[in-house]
Structure formats: structure tokens, C-alpha cells
């Protein structure tokens, strides 16, 4: 039982990290009806930019790399760069493609992926870097003593951050004027234009928010596995999460993430031995496939409304 709980909780916490990446997809899909293939690249770009800044800033301005303010300055600058990025995407990509079929936009985001990957490595170099957020990856002591559970402190913090982010975003979408406008744009570009919602500004906002989510995901994943090109593949981990949770639901991304995280760890531990292990790398996709057959819009996704 002890062991089962440990695996389950570890899986759930890992699931929160998947959810974090999935969230970026959901945001952009909700607001512009585009499946943003570049989300993974954005995570990579954000993490690399952050690490690059923490390396270069002390050199440029001559202060100690140990200074505590460095983290926040680098974070702020990275956020600013993501806003600039969002603006560029709107100006040079989305604006030209208004009212085009979704597949056209999707193709454009594939192109964008290569561009981001290239620019990121061109700017900061391609070597693998470590990233230390100052949160140790060790068991939480009181849980270990009281309940004899080994739960990583790092995982807990990351999950808490993801949780807060989701709560804020869900509130933003549901109850604010801009959030409502975002959902309106997702439903119908033209109608949104006709009531005076400035599409262009909305897109910049949503890509910027997706950029912020990418920063958080990039930092968490980066400090776990190192900041490297493989970060772009975290996006692939988000796919089954999206299918489970539904492409249009912020809470869906979280629940989907939790289910995927927990089930892949449990499957690995309990089913793995029978098939020679290593099933956590493909189990989520099988789960997603089964789900697609049963409930294609996902757990919380918006049903396609057809009037008959």
C-alpha cells in the first residue's frame, strides 16, 4: 500500500507537469482555434532564453552571478521577450492568415516551430545546460517521518505552481472581459470582429499568456532534465493529455495530466514487468487512442454543436 501510494502520488505530480505543457496548447486553441504545434518549441525557447540570460547578464553588467535578484530580472526579461515574440507572431503570421482554414494555420505553426528552434539555438548555443531553481529534489521530511512516504519536494512545488497557474487562468477565461472576448474569438473570428473585439490585440494577449505558461513549463522541466533540445519533445507528452482532457478546457488539461501521469507510472510499475518494462513511454498514447474511440471531444472538451 505504501508503495502504491508513493507511485500514485509521484505519478500525479508528474502529471501536473504534463498539464503545464498542455495548458499552453489549450490557451491558443481556445482563443484562435489553432492547434499550436510550436508550443513545445516555445517551452524550449523560453527555458533557453532564461538560462542564457542568467549566464550573460552578470557578464554584461558586471555583477555577481550569485546575486538573488538575478533570477527575477532574468524572469522578467524572458517574459518581455515572450511578449515581443507574441507580437511578432501576430504581426507577421496570424494577421496574414485571418479567416483561413484551421489546417493552414496549423501548417504555419509547424513552420514557426523550426524558426523558433533555429533562432533559440542561434542566439544561445546548442549545448545542454543545467538550471538550478534552488528547490532540492529530495523527499519531504515530515511526510517521510510521519507517513513513511517518499515524495519529492521539487515535484510538490512544481505541482503547486501549476495548480495556481491553472486556477488563475480558469478565472481569467470565465469571468473577465478579455477572457470572454478570447472565447468569443475562438468561436467565431468574424463575429468577434463585427462586435468590435480587436482580434489583433486579443491574439497578442493570448500568445503572450501561452508564452508565460511556456516559461513556467520550461523552467520546471528544464531544471529537472536540463535545458536542451529534448525539451521540445515535452510537447509530445502533452498530446495524450489534450486528447483526454479536451482541447478547449483549462481544467481538462489538469485532469488529463493527472490521469496520464498517474496511469503511466502505475502501469510501468504493475504491468511493466510482464512485458519487459518501459511501457510508460507508450502507455499514454494507447490510453489516448482508446479515449478517442469512446469520447473524441475529451472529458471536458466542448462538444461540436450541430443544429438539426
Amino acid at each position: 500500500m505504501q508503495f502504491f501510494l508513493e507511485v500514485l502520488i509521484g505519478g500525479l505530480l508528474a502529471g501536473m507537469l504534463y498539464a503545464l505543457v498542455a495548458l499552453g496548447f489549450v490557451l491558443i486553441f481556445k482563443a484562435s482555434g489553432v492547434f499550436n504545434f510550436a508550443q513545445g518549441a516555445m517551452v524550449f525557447f523560453a527555458a533557453l532564453t532564461f538560462v542564457g540570460l542568467t549566464e550573460r547578464l552578470p557578464q554584461w553588467f558586471g555583477f555577481s552571478p550569485e546575486w538573488a535578484g538575478l533570477f527575477w530580472i532574468a524572469l522578467l526579461l524572458t517574459a518581455a521577450i515572450m511578449v515581443l515574440f507574441a507580437w511578432l507572431v501576430e504581426r507577421f503570421m496570424l494577421r496574414k492568415l485571418v479567416n483561413q482554414p484551421a489546417i493552414t494555420l496549423f501548417m504555419a505553426t509547424i513552420g514557426l516551430t523550426y524558426l523558433i528552434e533555429g533562432v533559440a539555438q542561434g542566439m544561445w548555443g546548442a549545448m545542454v545546460r543545467g538550471l538550478d531553481l534552488g528547490i532540492s529534489d529530495e523527499p519531504v521530511m515530515w511526510l517521510l517521518e510521519r507517513h513513511n512516504l517518499m515524495i519529492s519536494k521539487f515535484d510538490l512545488v512544481a505541482a503547486a505552481v501549476a495548480g495556481v497557474l491553472v486556477a488563475v487562468l480558469a478565472f481569467f477565461f470565465q469571468y473577465t472581459k478579455v477572457g470572454r472576448a478570447l472565447r468569443a474569438v475562438a468561436d467565431d473570428h468574424q463575429a468577434a470582429l463585427s462586435v468590435g473585439i480587436p482580434l489583433q490585440r486579443i491574439w497578442v494577449i493570448v500568445w503572450a499568456v501561452a508564452g508565460f505558461v511556456a516559461i513556467v513549463a520550461g523552467l520546471v522541466w528544464g531544471s529537472r532534465n536540463g535545458v536542451q533540445f529534448a525539451l521540445t519533445f515535452t510537447a509530445l507528452k502533452a498530446l495524450p493529455v489534450l486528447i483526454l482532457g479536451g482541447l478547449t478546457s483549462v481544467p481538462g488539461a489538469i485532469v488529463g495530466g493527472l490521469i496520464i501521469g498517474a496511469s503511466e507510472k502505475l502501469a510501468e510499475v504493475y504491468l511493466g514487468p510482464y512485458v519487459g518494462g518501459g511501457i510508460d513511454s507508450w502507455f499514454p498514447y494507447v490510453l489516448a487512442l482508446v479515449f478517442l474511440l469512446i469520447r473524441p471531444e475529451g472529458l471536458f472538451g466542448e462538444k461540436h454543436i450541430d443544429r438539426v
Binding site: A184, S194, V195, I305, R307
Partner: protein, 277 residues
């Protein structure tokens, strides 16, 4: 009604469309020089068959054309004496001109009330003012109040049309460009919607430019009408005159002194008529 329109027409120019030419995708010439005027407080009908250019004219005014790869290549549009052809739809809504698109275009995953709230995007309203604006819409469309919590996609066609008009009202417009409000609706519902248009016009002094295929109803509620054919205005006049006009009766209402004519004949006659005009 007519006296009112006549008086307004004498005053300063309100919405003036002057010789507008529209080209889609750089090659397709859709409007070949359309000119029309809407006086303050007027209800003007834009009539014509499918593909005559009614919707395009409205979109040329509201500037939704650009999102469809259309472009105004000649002519001008002005509102209250100021050129508005270069404004974004957002800016135009702020100035008081809003379009209700053909086919309703509600945000189907938003509830009716959320739909209405998006209409107030361009206005800076306090919570109380917003509630008041909602109440005003519900006053004209009591049916929307009953359905306020339903997703718009699940409501009936008539309710969606009301939702679309109500949403536009939330922007506190002076002038509504109403595109084909009767499309796909039962006659009683069409009547209901036109009654509300009339009420809005009479009580709130909202001006309307409405594109309609349903010539009969449109001419009953409008005080002036333009008839569009193949991207040109081929006839204009007071609504009552148009209603009495023998040609209009024959071409658009399908009535004639010798009973109904066959479609082929009408079409032929119409073509000849255009060469003459």
C-alpha cells in the same frame, strides 16, 4: 414615417456611401459603384436577389471586408461627415456603427448572456451599468432573458437572431447594419424581429440599413429602399412608392396584373431592363 425620413434627409449627411467599388481577391468585381444614403433615424432597405451585392455593401461600410480578402478600390464611405473607410471595425463600433452579420453568427459555446456581454467590449462600463445595459436588451427581447444561461448554439434560429441583434445593442450603436435578419426563420418570428427593429428605431432613434431578400416585409418596415442588381443600384425610392411600383411588384414580389409569371420570363425581362437603365 415618411415625413420623418424626409425631414432627416434635409439635415446634415449621416451615413453616405459614395460610388463604392469592391473587389474580392484582387480579381472579382462585386460592387460596381454603389451609392446610397441613410438619414439619421431612418430605416433603409437594401433589396436584391442572391449575389446582388447586399452583404458586400454592408461589409464595405462596416469594414469587415478586409477579413474576407475583399477591398474597397473606389469610392468613399462617410459617417456624420467623416470618412470612415479606413477605420477598423473596432473603431467603427466605437463611433456607433455596428453590423449584425448574415446567418446570425452567435458565439455558440458562450451562453446567451455572455454573448450579449461581448457586445459591450468596446465600452468601459461599471458592473451596474453593464447590468443596466443587459436589462435594456432583455426588455426588447424577453425571450433572451429566459434563455440567458443556455449556450447560444443550442437555442433556436429566432433566438439566435435576437441574440445577435441584442449583442449589437450592447455596444450602444446609433446605426445598425442588419444583414438578412429573416434568413431561415418562420414568418411569425420574422414579423416579431421586424417589430423590434421598428420599436428600436422609434424609441431609441437607432438608424437601420437592412439588407433583405424578403422584399415584402422589408418594404413594410423601411421608409426608403434601394434595389441592387449585379453590384449596381438599379432603382431607389420611398418604400411606399417601391411597394406600388409595377416593376418591383413583378421582379421582386412575384406579383403582376396577369398573375404570376414564369421564372424564365422574369429573368429575361430583368436583363433587358438593366440594359435600358
Amino acid at each position: 414615417m415618411n415625413a420623418e425620413a424626409g425631414r432627416a434627409a434635409v439635415g446634415e449627411p449621416y451615413l453616405v456611401v459614395n460610388n463604392v467599388e469592391v473587389i474580392y481577391d484582387h480579381v472579382i468585381l462585386v460592387l460596381k459603384g454603389v451609392s446610397l444614403e441613410v438619414p439619421r433615424g431612418g430605416v433603409v432597405a437594401l433589396l436584391g436577389a442572391n449575389g446582388a451585392g447586399k452583404s458586400t455593401t454592408l461589409k464595405a461600410i462596416s469594414n469587415l471586408l478586409r477579413a474576407e480578402r475583399g477591398e474597397v478600390t473606389k469610392g468613399s464611405v462617410s459617417f456624420k461627415g467623416e470618412r470612415v473607410d479606413a477605420l477598423s471595425p473596432n473603431e467603427l463600433v466605437r463611433r456607433g456603427v455596428i453590423q449584425v452579420m448574415e446567418g446570425r453568427h452567435c458565439f455558440e459555446h458562450l451562453t446567451i448572456e455572455e454573448n450579449l456581454l461581448t457586445g459591450a467590449y468596446t465600452r468601459k462600463l461599471s458592473r451596474a451599468q453593464l447590468a443596466q445595459a443587459l436589462e435594456r436588451v432583455y426588455h426588447y427581447f424577453p425571450r433572451l432573458k429566459e434563455r440567458r444561461k443556455s449556450q447560444a448554439g443550442y437555442t433556436s434560429g429566432g433566438e439566435q437572431q435576437m441574440c445577435a441583434i441584442g449583442r449589437a445593442l450592447m455596444a450602444a450603436p446609433e446605426m445598425i447594419l442588419l444583414d438578412e435578419p429573416s434568413m431561415g426563420l418562420a414568418p411569425q418570428v420574422v414579423e416579431e424581429i421586424f417589430e423590434i427593429v421598428h420599436e428600436l428605431n422609434a424609441k431609441e432613434n437607432v438608424s437601420f440599413l437592412l439588407a433583405e431578400q424578403n422584399t415584402m416585409v422589408a418594404l413594410r418596415y423601411a421608409n426608403f429602399g434601394y434595389i441592387l442588381e449585379n453590384g449596381r443600384v438599379v432603382m431607389e425610392g420611398e418604400a411606399r412608392e417601391l411597394r406600388e411600383n409595377e416593376d418591383v411588384k413583378e421582379f421582386y414580389l412575384g406579383l403582376s396584373s396577369q398573375g404570376r409569371k414564369s421564372f424564365r420570363e422574369v429573368k429575361h425581362y430583368r436583363r433587358r431592363k438593366r440594359w435600358l437603365s
